[in-house]
């Protein structure tokens, strides 16, 4: 009974949620709530366009589609075939920049 007196005025759902969240998820929520996640995504999109990665992926997808015939390809096939190549060919500089941005966000958010 006493516990209820000291309870902070947060709604139940909020508290329940806090209990089983992993650190990763907490960070993710912070990123979303601050709008940083969208900014990061946009930055990433822009970098990938600049370095030609997007065009490269587009070309790979086109080549695959052409090989299989345009009516025999599903999004799933494409994701399956292209994802490993895509992950492997993201330039390190882009990864480093994103990592740096996330680090400085975490510092500023004082997590």
């Amino acid at each position: 009974m006493r516990g209820s007196i000291n309870r902070p005025p947060t709604p139940d759902a909020e508290e329940d949620r806090g209990q089983d969240l992993t650190l990763q998820e907490i960070i993710n929520i912070k990123l979303i709530e601050s709008g940083e996640k969208e900014r990061l995504k946009e930055l990433l999109r822009e970098r990938l366009i600049e370095c030609g990665w997007t065009d490269e992926m587009k070309a790979l997808c086109r080549a695959f589609t052409r090989k299989k015939g345009r009516n025999n390809v599903t999004v799933d096939d494409l994701v399956h075939v292209i994802t490993p190549k895509g992950r492997a060919s993201v330039p390190d500089s882009v990864k480093a920049e994103l990592l740096q941005r996330i680090r400085s966000f975490l510092v500023s958010a004082a997590l």
Partner: protein
Amino acid sequence: MSSTNHLHQRGQIPHPCSHLADFRSKHGSKPFRLLQKCLRVKPLGRAEIRRDLHEVPRCAACVASAASARPRLYACVACAVVFCHSSPESSHAAAHADSMPSGHEIAVDLDRAELFCCACRDQVYDRDFDASVVIAAAAATAVSPTAMRGGESETMPWPESLRKRRRVDYRPWMPDPRERVLVATNSSRLGGDAESNGVCSPLPWGLRGLNNLGNTCFMNSVLQALLHTPPLRNYFLSDRHNRYVCQEKRTNLGNDKNASSRSRVCLACDMDAVFCSVFSGDRTPYSPASWWQHAANLASYEQQDAHEFFISMLDGIHENVESDQRKSQNQAQAMQIVPRGSAKIASSKLHLAYNGETESMLSGQRGGISTLMGCLDRFTRPERLGSDQKFFCQDCKVRQESLKQMSIRKLPLVSCFHIKRFEHSSYRNMSRKIDRYLQFPLSLDMSPYLSSTILRSRFGNRIFTYSGDDPEGSTELSSEFELFAVVTHTGKLDAGHYVTYLRLNDQWYKCDDAWVTRVSENVVRAAQAYMMFYVQKRFHYKASEKLVTS
């Protein structure tokens, strides 16, 4: 919009899969309407699906959430359970669809607000759903970012650069030491007027008057514009078609086959010759005598239409490229620069020569000042076809009333707009010239007139129907054009004079047959334009053209 239904028929928009069709026939549009309430638009205008603002969706089977990065999360449209799907190893979403009686195949991607069919393993499109996504996104961008995030205080404004897709900036090429040596040892400096005459010529390279050979200003005006069309100029100045080599080749060919092909004239050779003489540094007016033979029907001492000459030049260039057996990819591209815009009617692949059709609207009765943009707006506005012009719809198997809208499918590197300045009145049975003034911009953005833009405003972002048959075309990135030449006409229908204004180095020059003079921009703006030549902005290198003059 009656025509939207009927676009399906041409295969431009993927057919809905049988599962989606079943789902719709069973449930109607109600599930999609419920989804609409969960649509949230993220700050940069992309939509997602969330029941409330702070929901952390996770897979019902393996509690993977969006933070665990790998799998995508999908909500079943029938029962709203969230499952993960990472192709093809593990898909709880597909397992869910299998375990349930039919009707649970359609799911929605939570982070992207896109429909997915778990049975087909493919993205599917629903018109109503996509339309509501588009409406939500449009509404969200209309209000300020703070308002759309539910009044939460926004700490950082969204930088403008993030909103717009930015292209890689143009960086001028600078030779490295090795290249510098190569350039120095292998090139001889053009003499130019400066040294030979002792007078420093203020005109940029390549400006040279063309002698009038007897009512040939129609030809001179078009030639001047062609001579300063950046891609064409670069092609010939980089020695891509050498007339001596070509001649030798043709002679050999002639020996093999018959003698008649030896005498065949080569348009590209004459182009090469005229480029050489014009860029030689000699400023005395040049006589382009050999040019007549390329427009046989116009070769007389009568006055002719510049546009007609231009079209026959284009045909000649195209033909030349096609007949060249050993054309390289690059040559083909360089030759394609010539303005052949392709316009579309509805979704049928009807290519129109832009030049002829576009500008019929200047004669339209409108108040105020006519502008080029106004003409283009008019050209691309939807037009309802009358009851006597019904299209046969393959889906409905009946003739339907339809809407016709022209748009530009792919932008050429160089666009030429031809203004219809003569009209024929059947009433008086005579033709007359339209002297009306037309305003034209120095920089033109063609994106509003593109098929992709027009379709997107109608169907939303997800349908990129044009990429399929246009492998390397990314039209959106190159919709900005710069004006580089204007051909004007003064006088009447049957007697008049053509003058070309050229924009070089951001300075305007008037080319009136043999006379080339520098003029102010206002003179050009006030001129009665007949043909306007625009080039894609990325080819309009202002900075590098300065290097050419110095």
